[in-house]
């Protein structure tokens, strides 16, 4: 049987979800036999091939993240969201109730260790969106694994269900937002 092709992206987030994925212990051996990882932050491949499953960690907070997410959506059959940032906005969304300009000024100019700071912007650095969005507010998402980060067993559950041909919905006892 051909391996299931998977691509993962890491948007606005801490990479904790990918760490939690690497934390699935020996299950990763069986998974490697069934799955081919293409573009991921771990393989460091930059191109998007056509894949069966796209996985996204992190929320959408700037124009580049928005574009990357849309590109993944265009190249995958099923899109799965990992973690609170992707599912709800998470820690990154703390800035959403603040004014974007205030956030940039505080971060790049007013920080105590900054001397003569300057707010960067395009083309060098992508522009911030006014508010941070969960991924399903930008593209269609097929399944969600919340948690900050999701427990390895929740991540494994999501992948196993997909491999078994089902769209995973985390059972209540696996649900975590922290």
């Amino acid at each position: 049987m051909a391996k299931v092709k998977v691509a993962t992206i890491w948007l606005e987030g801490c990479s904790g979800c990918h760490m939690s994925f690497l934390d699935i212990d020996e299950a990763i051996i069986d998974l490697a036999n069934a799955v081919e990882f293409t573009r991921t932050p771990i393989t460091d491949i930059k191109e998007f091939p056509e894949v069966d499953v796209g996985i996204v960690e992190g929320s959408v907070g700037n124009t580049e993240e928005e574009e990357t997410l849309k590109e993944l959506r265009a190249h995958c059959k099923i899109l799965m969201a990992w973690g609170d940032c992707a599912c709800f906005g998470g820690v990154c969304a703390m800035r959403s109730s603040l004014d974007k300009e205030d956030v940039l000024r505080r971060g790049y100019i007013e920080t105590e260790s900054t001397h003569e700071g300057k707010i960067p912007g395009p083309p060098g650095v992508p522009a911030l969106l006014d508010q941070v969005k969960p991924v399903n507010h930008v593209v269609k998402v097929d399944c969600f694994v919340p948690g900050c980060p999701p427990e390895p067993k929740a991540i494994l559950y999501g992948l196993s269900e997909l491999l078994a041909g089902r769209i995973p919905v985390l059972p209540s006892e696996m649900m975590r937002f922290d």
């Binding site: 820690v91 703390m94 900050c148 209540s172």
Partner: protein, 638 residues
């Protein structure tokens, strides 16, 4: 109450006429999710989590406000309802800034638990991300509007349970928020800091600074016991993790009607004063220095034996705080009056006791405190006379009892106090006698009940009209209760106590009197005869040639001026205390007391009910129970 039969989820179940559908479900163990509902409060149907389908109703209705009736056919679980409930949760999560990973309540949150239960793994609605403030200037509580779902549980608790009604909704619609008073910071409002709103909050919108990030209730050990601090004897549910008290709640149903106060709920969660952790002895250069418990006990026993042998038993005195446990008081009495054979045993509030007893004996033959009435009789009375007390400060739960009696039972409240009335909204008449004229005022009131006009109204500071109004209320009462507090007790005036008893006797066919005593275990100390001394020991040390004084403060932090004036001619002062009040600096030997949470003990409530407080955490290393220390000294006397 008439029994009714309903069909819920296809099963026939019984309910009572007047129940809501939710109440019938709960009595029949049918699980219906709730958020804005809280037992003991009126239901408002605000959150829509408890929606159920009812035959012939066109749309789902909230079970908490729908009256149950005979023959009703109810569906509490199906796909449509699950979908509705999830939708309600998604709306709540997107309305404000619910960021579980950073929230103090995560893992101990009703909103989050329901989101897990209904597998809410994303929210489809646009997030509002409103910029909302946080009020953290209160001593114990923080209101974080970001986490508020506007269920109103805190507001209804503050109003209906506590009776203070500090909290309410402010603004309208989209801008609706919980506010204190007319939108004051909570710390500057009429809040009495009882923390009932914190316990009522289903999310992290109201949290306690003293519990935050210490641990979650589901992960800690739960101990149900009694709080001995003020003497009401409220039931408490304490949560302990790694020998740390993380939170104290009120149990759902107990003698305190679901109430607690700032002392019981927050006091034990952190140490408000520096502790005495080791015994200390004054060295040859006059400085207090730490020593072993064995050394300290030896010195105390040796010194006390010497005083007894050389100066006689009457050169030794013992004074105990009414905050000490009954075991400690008993051991102390045995040491002072037994082993040391001294007649000088007293409590810090002994003068108050002697005035009360003298006052009662002028009124009736049986002059002891068994004549006092249970505090909960407030709920059975149609007339309450509150004399010289600020219950919200000294005994907050009693204050709530009074408000609830006024509101629920339509009891009339007469406040008798020259300076303060903390319950102005609930008071029918506030009698404001001139200071020093209280006895006269009470006697005049009793007289005017007999119909005789009062000539000296101007002299006592109360108008004829007010006196007549109060007399009318008292005269009409079927059952009245007199509650008096420190404003009366501190005067140590037997005549005033007699006047209160006399007034109670003529108001209503069934009457009672209860005093709000100054210390949590005063009643036990008094009943035990600790304050039966014929003299006021602490005030008359010199007149009685007392040379050695043993002061048992236990966990009572006191800066009373008669203690600060010590040593006043003493040759030897032993202080046994949990804390380091300035007085400790004057002691020759300091012995460490545990705090009640570290040992537990027996106590007697202010209305005479024996209660037992459990140990919740371990004391600091080497600190022993007060009674153990005292018994050891007794054993070492020569």
């Amino acid at each position: 109450m008439k029994e009714i039969i309903l069909t819920i989820d296809g099963k026939q179940v019984k309910g009572k006429e007047g129940d809501t559908v939710l109440e019938v479900c709960q009595t029949n163990n049918i699980d219906v999710p709730t958020l804005c509902h809280l037992k003991g409060l009126t239901d408002v149907g605000a959150c829509r989590m408890c929606v159920v389908e009812i035959e012939k109703e066109r749309r789902p209705v909230p079970a908490c406000t729908y009256p149950a009736r005979d023959g009703l056919v109810v569906q509490t679980k199906n796909e449509k309802l699950e979908k509705y409930r999830r939708l309600v949760l998604e709306l709540m999560f997107t309305e404000r800034n619910h960021l579980c990973a950073q929230c103090v309540a995560s893992g101990d949150c009703e909103l989050q638990s329901l989101a897990y239960k209904y597998q809410m793994d994303n929210a489809r609605y646009p997030y509002s991300w409103p910029p909302l403030p946080l009020d953290s200037a209160h001593d114990y509580l923080v209101i974080d509007h970001n986490r508020c779902i506007l269920c109103g549980r805190c507001i209804r608790t503050c109003d209906q349970m506590v009776g203070v009604h500090t909290l309410d909704f402010g603004y309208r619609g989209w801008k609706d928020v919980v506010v204190a008073d007319l939108n004051q910071p909570l710390g500057k409002s009429t809040c009495i800091s009882c923390g009932a709103c914190f316990q009522a909050c289903p999310t992290g919108a109201i949290f306690s600074k003293r519990s935050a990030y210490k641990g979650k209730r589901p992960e800690s050990q739960e101990i149900t016991t009694v709080c001995p601090i003020c003497g009401i004897g409220c039931g408490i549910k304490a949560f302990v993790k790694n020998n740390m008290l993380i939170r104290i709640d009120s149990p759902d149903s107990s003698q305190n009607n679901g109430l607690l106060c700032y002392m019981g709920r927050f006091g034990p969660l952190s140490q408000e004063h520096p502790r005495v952790k080791t015994p200390m002895v004054r060295n040859s250069s006059g400085k207090l220095e730490p020593c072993s418990m064995n050394e300290a006990l030896d010195i105390v026993a040796k010194k006390l034996s010497q005083f007894k042998a050389h100066n006689g038993s009457s050169s030794i005195a013992g004074v105990a705080s009414g905050q000490a446990s009954s075991q400690a008081l008993k051991a102390f009495k045995e040491l002072i009056t037994g082993a040391l054979d001294s007649k000088f045993l007293d409590s810090l509030d002994g003068d108050q006791y002697r005035a009360v007893i003298k006052g009662i004996s002028a009124f009736q033959d049986k002059a002891d405190l068994s004549t006092e009435t249970p505090l909960e009789d407030i709920f059975k009375s149609d007339c309450i006379l509150l004399a010289g007390a600020n219950p919200f400060k000294s005994h907050p739960v009693a204050g709530s009892y009074i408000v609830r009696a006024v509101r629920q039972n339509k009891a009339k409240l007469i406040v008798f106090d020259p300076t303060q009335n903390v319950l102005p909204d609930y008071t029918t008449v506030w009698l404001k006698p001139k200071k020093g004229k209280e006895t006269l005022a009470l006697n005049s009131l009793a007289k005017s009940m007999g119909g005789s006009p009062v000539k000296d109204a101007a002299m006592i500071g109360i108008s004829q009209k007010e006196l007549t109004e109060a007399a009318k209320i008292l005269g009409k009462a079927k059952r009245s209760i007199v509650v008096y507090g420190e404003g009366i007790l501190q005067q140590q005036n037997a005549g005033l106590i007699t006047a209160l008893y006399k007034l109670a006797a003529v108001s209503g066919s069934k009457t009672g009197v209860i005093s709000l005593k100054s210390k949590g275990n005063s009643r036990s100390a008094w009943d035990m005869g600790i304050a039966n001394s014929s003299v006021s020991v602490i005030n008359d040390l010199a007149q009685n040639s007392i040379k050695a004084l043993y002061l048992l403060l236990a966990d009572d932090y006191t800066e009373a001026k008669e203690l600060l004036a010590l040593p006043r001619g003493l040759d030897f002062l032993v202080v046994q205390s949990s804390y380091l009040p300035p007085l400790v600096q004057k002691a020759d030997v300091v012995l460490p007391s545990p705090i009640w949470t570290e040992v537990g003990g027996n106590y007697t409530t202010l209305d005479g009910v024996p209660v037992s407080a459990s140990r919740l955490i371990n004391p600091p290393d080497g600190v022993k129970a007060d009674w153990e220390i005292i018994s050891e000294i007794s054993g070492r006397l020569k």
